[in-house]
Each structure stands twice: as structure tokens, then as C-alpha cells.
């Protein structure tokens, strides 16, 4: 928009993966006079459009240009305007990105909603409305999403008064104990029952609240109510310096032992933003650590899913925890921490493998050697169990098109037959040098999601094994764990970047806009759980309560990442 951005765009063009002029020209011809201006983001060209043309532009891009993945919607405030950015990608090729930038006036931030085009935009726009205060016309259900309905003001606005107490009398809050017959056709008497599942319920995996309307045992309508674990992670990151102060936060998003995967999301984004090289040796260590985290995370996902189906702390859960524990002791050796690793640094990792290295390799190999036996046990207990199959096959079905519409990624998407894995499709780290496969299943049901996770564990073990081989043979004088990174990073003003990595739950993306200081001007997290959870109603409506619980378990959400 501004001239400053144009200049930074030129600088950034050198860092961008490919020259994008041809693409911009193509998009311009496709969109015609909807395009007001173009911008250059580090990851993609930005197309500036009018706020009343959002649906027209998005549907053209989706239908005709094939951008079927609305990864994220970022909203932010500039001194002179508000801006919503739709980060679009293709499931077939996530490196082919485009950012649709929608500026709105400062005094009346109203923009057309993209929700009718991409289902996933619905929640993202609710969040933008909640935190930044942009109104979306034609939005199906524009309510607050993270903050309580009674909240005053929009916290990411500049004029937001943090010190003003948010006093809400009890009377203003909806009384959850009142008679409620939501979902019924006629007023008053009806056969449906409204049920609050959560925020304290054994199956919600944290503090999630499902507003459910039941007809007997059948789920007529379910509406996830999130935000109970909102810790202002984005704002906290905006107050930290790039170099050191942000890295500990990602550990706390998906805190179920997926820490290194999250750290990588920030590391990748910030390294691309500040043009930092990472030594190959560090990349191998990162790859190994990340896959260990993935195994630990998938083990817990499997265990809790079994817990949801079995209904008690049963052998499967405890055995899964045991395997996760082994992965964690390896990670503890590597990073010195069990959960909040804080091991990645911009430009590398914090320190080299623990010495003596042989012991570490042996520990890791022992863990890998035990995995096939453990996997066999889980197949005996879970996937080959007839009751388990009876319970999970053809329940919680989400077809690929719906899954794409909801922006599902990770094991949830891959279990619906969507062959999408950023480790392969948008390579980073050392993944493209290694031999491994992307696991997909075509069942689209709870069972497939379980199978995908179990098979991904095997693939991760394969990756770790290769990394160990590489690390063992790495020449001693080439073990560079960090490149030379300036003490203070000040990326150029108005440089914008959106980068994602394949987290344990799916595509974990981060958008950063630099404001010329050593802290980000806007830091936006694209949480895979957030988008995956949004698809729960599509999976669970019309099913029985037990299948709703199973579908929720199969999504493998972590509320810390959903609410941030």
C-alpha cells in the first residue's frame, strides 16, 4: 500500500523463493479491476482489493486459480487503516501462495466476509473481529470467539485501554443452568435437550466447551466454544525481541510434547524474515528433535483417543504414555527439558548433542528398536480390536472437500485422503534429503485418523534413524550448531512474511510484520488445532454422543494451541 512497503518489497524480492512477477500479472488478468494494488510479501505476492469485493476475489481465486486452502486470516491495525490478510495456498502445492490484502477505513472497519467462500474463514474472522474489531459483512455468525461475549473493547487495537477493568456482573452472563431448548423447531415444548459438554468434562482434553443440542442420544447441533485458555500468546510475542525472547513461547502453544515442532515454526519464519542461514548440521539435529516430538505427540494422541473410546485409564493409554516417556527421555537428554524445550535458536540450535555422543545415539537407537514391538502391541489392542473397529469405522466422517473447506491439515487432512504434508511439499530442515513417505488414508473416519497417526510414528522413526546415521558420521570439525546471527535483529519496516511448518497437529503457521524495531509489529499464529476443531460439527452432527467424543479425540486438539 504505502510507498515504504513497495521499497521493502523490492528488498524482500531477493529473499523470496521465486520471482513472482509473472504470477502477479496472471492474477491481475484473472481478477481484472478488483485489484487495486499489489504488494510483495516475503512468501507470496499480495493483492490489495476493495473491502466489498472480498467474496468475488476469493471465489475467483478458489474456483479458477485453484487456491483451495485458506490457511489463515490475519487482521491488524495500521495508523491509517485496518487490514485483513487472507493467506491462500493450494493443497496440491503449498509453495504457490497468494495473500489477499483487504484494507478498511480506520473510522469504519467493515469488510465483506470470506466465510461463504472458505468455511474456515468463519472462525478466523470471528477472531479478527474479537481481537482487532473489524466487522465482517455477510458473516454467518459474527460473535466473539476467544474473549467472553461481555468483553469491552478489542485488545489488539491501539486505543484499547488495558488498565480498564472488565467488570461483568453475573446477570450479564448467560446462565448455563437455565432451561434451554436450542435447536428445536417450535418455541417452548420440544424433544431436544441442550447439553453443556465442558468446559470441565473428561473428554474435552482441556478446557473446551461444546454447546450441544441432543435428540435423545443423537447430536443435532454442536458448537465449540473456545477461549478458556487464551493467554494472549500473540501479544506476548509482539512484546519480545526476535533474537531470544520469543523462542520460549512456542513451547507453550501445543504443550503436549510438540515443543520443538512449534519452535521450528517461529525459527523458520524469523530466519526467512531476517535472512538467516542455518548450518546443515543444526538442521539435522532439528529434524531429529522435531520427529521425536512428533512421536511423543502422536503417542499421546493415540492414548487419549483410546481413552475416549475405552472410557477408563486402560492399558492402551498407559502403554502409549510409556512409549511417549521414552521419547521424552531422549528429548530431555538432547535439550535438558522435558516439555518446554527452548532448544532452537535463530540460526541453529542451543547446543550440540550431549556428550558422550555414543550414549545418546545408543539411547535413541534403543528407543527406535523398541518402537516396532510397541506398535505391534497397539495394533493388537486397538486397530485389530473388533469393538474398536465397530466404534470408529464410518463414524466422524469428513470428506476431502469439506476438510479442505475447513482448512484441515495434518493427520486429520491426510486421513481424508488429502496428500498434503509441508515437510515434503514445502521442504524445510533436512527433510528433502531423507527417505520417508507421506502417510494418507482414504477412510475419512475416526479409524483412519488413528491409523494415520500410528503409521506416521513409523515414518518419524525412519527419519530419526537416518538423522542418527548422519550425525554419527558427521566430521568433528564441521559440527556447526549455529550460524553467525547479529545480537539484535531489526528487519526492515513493513516486511511481511507468513511461513508454516508441519506441526504434530498440522500446518502451524506464523505471520510476522516487522515494524523496524527489534520486536514484531504483528505476530499472528495459525494454529492447526484451531482450524481442525472448527470441522468438528461437520464430523459429529447426526452422530451419537459417543461418536462426538470419539471424533473430538480423533482431531487431537490441544487447547493451548487452539486458544493461544
Amino acid at each position: 500500500m504505502s510507498t515504504g512497503e513497495e521499497q521493502s518489497g523490492d528488498d524482500a524480492g531477493e529473499q523470496a523463493i521465486e520471482p513472482t512477477e509473472a504470477k502477479v500479472a496472471e492474477l491481475q488478468s484473472l481478477l481484472g479491476d478488483h485489484v487495486l494494488d499489489t504488494e510483495e510479501h516475503l512468501n507470496a505476492p499480495g493483492i490489495v482489493i476493495r473491502p466489498d469485493a472480498v467474496q468475488a476475489v476469493l471465489s475467483t481465486l478458489k474456483e479458477e486459480a485453484g487456491y483451495d486452502h485458506c490457511s489463515c486470516v490475519t487482521a491488524q491495525q495500521y495508523p491509517d487503516r485496518y487490514e485483513s490478510i487472507y493467506h491462500l495456498k493450494k493443497y496440491a502445492d503449498p509453495t504457490d501462495e497468494v495473500s489477499v490484502v483487504v484494507p478498511t477505513a480506520r473510522d469504519d472497519p467493515t469488510s465483506e466476509s470470506g466465510a461463504p467462500v472458505y468455511e474456515t474463514a468463519s472462525w478466523h474472522e470471528r477472531e479478527a473481529y474479537d481481537l482487532v474489531g473489524i466487522d465482517y459483512d455477510d458473516h454467518p455468525d459474527l460473535r466473539r470467539i476467544l474473549l467472553p461475549d461481555t468483553w469491552q473493547g478489542h485488545p489488539l487495537r491501539e486505543d484499547y485501554d488495558q488498565d480498564r477493568p472488565q467488570i461483568v456482573t453475573l446477570r450479564e452472563n448467560a446462565n448455563p443452568l437455565l432451561e434451554d431448548h436450542r435447536g428445536s423447531e417450535e418455541e417452548g415444548e420440544s424433544d431436544t435437550m441442550f447439553l453443556n459438554i465442558g468446559p470441565h468434562h473428561p473428554a474435552t482434553h482441556g478446557v473446551l466447551h461444546l454447546e450441544t443440542v441432543l435428540d435423545g442420544e443423537q447430536v443435532l447441533d454442536v458448537d465449540p466454544d473456545i477461549g478458556y485458555l487464551h493467554r494472549c500468546e500473540e501479544q506476548m510475542c509482539q512484546q519480545g525481541t526476535y533474537r531470544h525472547q520469543i523462542m520460549p513461547y512456542p513451547d507453550r502453544w501445543d504443550y503436549i510434547s510438540a515443543g520443538l515442532l512449534n519452535e521450528w515454526a517461529y525459527a523458520r519464519t524469523a530466519e526467512d524474515l531476517a535472512d538467516i542461514e542455518v548450518p546443515e548440521y543444526a538442521q539435522v539435529i532439528r529434524t531429529m528433535g522435531a520427529e521425536l516430538c512428533r512421536i511423543a505427540s502422536h503417542m499421546l494422541a493415540m492414548g487419549t483417543f483410546a481413552l475416549d473410546i475405552n472410557g477408563d485409564f486402560t492399558a492402551t493409554f498407559m502403554w502409549a504414555i510409556r512409549e511417549r516417556e521414552r521419547a521424552q527421555s531422549v528429548l530431555e537428554e538432547l535439550t535438558g527439558q522435558r516439555l518446554m524445550f527452548n532448544y532452537f535458536r535463530l540460526g541453529g540450535v542451543a547446543w550440540d548433542l550431549p556428550s558422550p555422543r555414543e550414549d545418546f545415539f545408543e539411547l535413541t537407537r534403543d528407543f527406535l528398536d523398541g518402537l516396532p514391538e510397541a506398535t505391534r502391541e497397539f495394533h493388537d489392542l486397538l486397530t485389530n480390536n473388533e469393538i474398536m473397529q465397530l466404534r470408529t469405522i464410518d463414524t466422524g466422517v469428513i470428506d476431502p472437500e469439506t476438510a479442505k473447506d475447513f482448512g484441515c491439515t495434518g493427520p486429520v487432512a491426510r486421513a481424508s485422503g488429502i496428500d498434503y504434508d509441508l515437510r515434503r511439499d514445502d521442504p524445510y530442515g533436512y527433510y528433502d534429503e531423507l527417505e520417508w513417505d507421506v502417510v494418507t488414508e482414504d477412510g475419512c473416519d475416526n479409524y483412519s485418523r488413528l491409523l494415520v497417526r500410528m503409521r506416521e510414528v513409523e515414518q518419524s522413526a525412519k527419519i530419526i534413524d537416518q538423522c542418527i546415521d548422519l550425525l554419527e558420521d558427521w566430521p568433528e570439525d564441521e559440527r556447526e550448531i549455529q550460524s553467525n546471527v547479529p545480537r539484535t535483529l531489526k528487519p526492515e519496516r513493513d516486511t511481511e512474511i507468513y511461513r508454516a511448518v508441519e506441526g504434530a497437529k498440522g500446518e502451524l503457521g506464523i505471520y510476522i510484520r516487522a515494524d523496524g524495531t527489534d520486536k514484531p509489529g504483528r505476530f499472528k499464529i495459525r494454529s492447526p488445532c484451531f482450524s481442525n476443531l472448527q470441522s468438528l460439527p461437520a464430523m459429529a452432527e447426526g452422530e451419537y454422543i459417543p461418536d462426538l467424543v470419539a471424533a473430538l479425540g480423533s482431531l487431537d486438539i490441544v487447547l493451548g494451541e487452539v486458544d493461544r
Partner: protein, 386 residues
């Protein structure tokens, strides 16, 4: 006066034995209560009931806080409680204190008398069932409180009274989860009570009596002799199919995995017992364990020869068999996923019920032919063809 004595007299007539001295009779004899007449017999019966109830309470206390944890720990590859007392057994005391010292929270809007009575019904009905269970003989004394001719029917009837308690508790709690749980309990009970009784009915055809002691006595013969060891004619060996049906239906009857649907912790929190705390929770918990033991005792009496077994006296063997059933429920708990409520109804009505009736009729035909009662056999065949 006569109205007051009516039930007592009825109770006395229940104390019919078939030869051996019954426990209350023996107690009356030993304690010289004969002189008191009917009242003496009643007092002796009460003492006997007190003894048996305490034996069961000790078993439940062992099973609930201690054995359940130990068994679960063994499945998980862990140790279980091992710090409190020998083998961790003092955890029973700790747990009892913990439970009893908790606040009894009464939900707002609870349907008071019903809400209070429900836990008592749950625990009481399970305990009542043991009144007719023959624990076997010890020194010529039949350890059994009462042995009515319709013992088997009576014990099934008593066991199903538990459902009334569950529905009362679930409905009176004024909690939606409790309500769902109690509705599930009813649906499940209806679906499983019939196959349970019908599969036990096939045993009645063999034994020719509904009297529990008679059923036990009918299993004392030797079925076949293998290398000097006689395999007794327990109905589990005579009719294993009925035994498996009975065990499956029994798991559902006592509400254990994979049929713990009325509780279903991950779905409906704790079902009918969601709102119960403190003493009431203990009562419900106790009722559940007693119910498992009652299920085990029934399986032992009907299919596993009651108190029959080498060396040790009868009551010990019956308790061993009860514990074997308890172990079975815990094993199922650790391994089986829970079936969904609609699947459970389907298994009950379409699967078990049909199989149970097929088993019953085939048994009737076989028994008819074996005993030369051709008329009976043909009558049974006619039922099949019809």
C-alpha cells in the same frame, strides 16, 4: 399381632433345606436360641446375615481400593499401591477415611427422598441377592441363609432391583448427564436381563430345579475321567455355550466394560452417579462391587459347581470363584473399548437373545432325548419348528 408375624413366618418357611443343616439353623442350635421359638430362628438368621454381610464387605473393601488398583497396575506394568502397609493394603483405610470425610454435596433441585434412597437401593439390592447364594458346606453346615425353591428367579429379580436405584438416582439428581446415564441403564438392563435369564434357564432344564442348592448338587457328579482326574459335571463344561452367553450378559448386567455404558466416564461424565459424593458415593461404589461379586457368585453357583473344589472348604472356593469373575471384569476393563449404546442394544436384542433362546430350546431337546422323555423332546422340537 398376626400381621406382624406374617413376614417372619414367611421368612421361616424360606429356610427350607434339602438335608444339610442350614447356617441359621446351626447358629440357633449352637447359641441355644431354640427355646425362643420363631423369634430364636429369626435372631439366628439375623446373626447369620450379619456374618455373611461382613465377609462380603471385607471382600468389597479389598476389591475396591486395593485389588482393583493392583490388578490395573499389573496390566500397566506398574506397581500399584505399595507404600501404605503390607502390600499397600492400608490404602483401604486411607481411602475409607478420605471418602467418608468428604463433604456430602446435595445438588440444588434434587428430588430429595428419591435421591437419598437410590444409593441404599443400589448397595442393598446387591447385598440382598447373597441371601440365597449357597456358599457351600463347611463341616456339614450349609452356609446359606435361605434356600427357597425359586432361588434362581428370586436372585435375578433382586439383582434387577438395582436398575430401579440407578434410575431413581439418575432422575432425582436433576443433572442431564445423570438423566442420560439412568436412561441408558434401563435400556441396557432390558436388553441383557432376558438373555441372562434364558441362558441360565438352560441350566434349570438340566438340573430340573430352580433351587440354588439343588443346582449345585446336580453338578457334583463326574462328567468324564481323564487320567485319574475326574472332571466334574459343572454346567460350564456340560454346556460351555450357555456359560459364555451367561458371562457376556452378566458383564452387561453388572455394567462393566465393554458394557459400562450407564457410567461411560468420557461421554456422560459418570452417568447416574455424577452428583453423588461422600457417603452416597461410597454406597454406590460398594453396590457396584457387590454387584460384580453377586454376578460372580451366580456364575459360580449356576455354572461352576458352587462351593465345589478340592481341599479347601466350600465358602473359600466360592469366594475364589467370585474373585475370578472380578478379575475377568478387570481384564475386560483394561482391554475392551466400550460399545456404543445403539450397538449394545443391537447385540442384546439381535445377538444374545436369539442365541440364548436357540441354546435353551436345543438344551430342552437334548435333555428330553437323553432322559428318554421323548414326548418332552418332541414338544420342544415342535417349538423350534414353530
Amino acid at each position: 399381632m398376626s400381621a406382624g408375624f406374617g413376614p417372619l413366618l414367611a421368612a421361616v418357611t424360606l429356610l427350607q433345606s434339602n438335608g444339610a443343616t442350614m447356617l441359621p439353623e446351626w447358629l440357633a442350635d449352637v447359641l441355644r436360641l431354640d427355646g425362643l421359638g420363631v423369634a430364636g430362628t429369626a435372631i439366628a438368621a439375623l446373626i447369620g446375615a450379619f456374618v455373611i454381610a461382613n465377609v462380603l464387605l471385607i471382600n468389597a473393601a479389598l476389591a475396591g481400593p486395593w485389588a482393583k488398583r493392583k490388578i490395573a497396575a499389573a496390566f500397566w506394568g506398574k506397581l500399584g499401591p505399595n507404600r501404605m502397609g503390607p502390600g499397600g493394603t492400608l490404602i483401604i483405610v486411607a481411602d475409607a477415611l478420605r471418602m467418608l470425610s468428604k463433604e456430602l454435596i446435595v445438588p440444588e433441585g434434587a428430588d430429595r427422598p428419591a435421591w437419598d434412597i437410590a444409593p441404599i437401593i443400589v448397595a442393598g439390592s446387591a447385598m440382598l441377592g447373597f441371601a440365597v447364594i449357597p456358599f457351600g458346606k463347611i463341616g456339614g453346615v450349609q452356609v446359606q441363609l435361605a434356600d427357597p425353591e425359586i432361588g434362581l428367579v428370586l436372585v435375578f429379580a433382586i439383582a434387577s432391583v438395582t436398575s430401579v436405584g440407578l434410575v431413581m438416582g439418575g432422575y432425582a439428581s436433576k443433572n442431564k448427564y445423570s438423566m442420560l446415564g439412568s436412561l441408558r441403564a434401563v435400556a441396557q438392563n432390558i436388553a441383557y436381563e432376558i438373555p441372562l435369564i434364558v441362558s441360565a434357564g438352560s441350566v434349570v432344564i438340566f438340573a430340573g430345579t430352580l433351587q440354588l442348592s439343588g443346582i449345585v448338587d446336580a453338578q457334583t457328579e463326574t462328567l468324564v475321567s481323564v487320567g485319574g482326574f475326574g472332571i466334574p459335571a459343572w454346567y460350564a463344561f456340560v454346556n460351555p455355550f450357555a456359560f459364555i452367553l451367561f458371562l457376556t450378559a452378566n458383564l452387561a448386567e453388572v455394567g462393566r466394560n465393554p458394557f459400562d455404558i450407564p457410567e461411560a466416564p468420557t461421554e456422560i461424565v459418570a452417568g447416574y452417579q455424577t452428583e453423588y459424593s461422600s457417603v452416597y458415593f461410597v454406597l454406590i461404589y460398594l453396590g457396584e462391587f457387590l454387584h460384580i461379586f453377586l454376578g460372580g457368585a451366580l456364575a459360580a453357583v449356576v455354572f461352576l459347581g458352587g462351593g465345589a473344589g478340592p481341599v479347601l472348604p466350600g465358602p473359600v472356593w466360592l469366594i475364589v470363584k467370585m474373585w475370578a469373575f472380578f478379575l475377568f471384569t478387570q481384564w475386560a476393563r483394561q482391554t475392551f473399548p466400550r460399545v456404543r449404546i445403539d450397538q449394545l442394544i443391537e447385540i442384546g436384542w439381535k445377538g444374545l437373545l436369539v442365541l440364548a433362546f436357540a441354546n435353551l430350546i436345543l438344551t430342552a431337546v437334548l435333555v428330553g432325548f437323553l432322559e428318554g422323555d421323548v414326548e418332552f423332546a418332541f414338544a420342544s422340537l415342535q417349538v423350534i419348528t414353530a
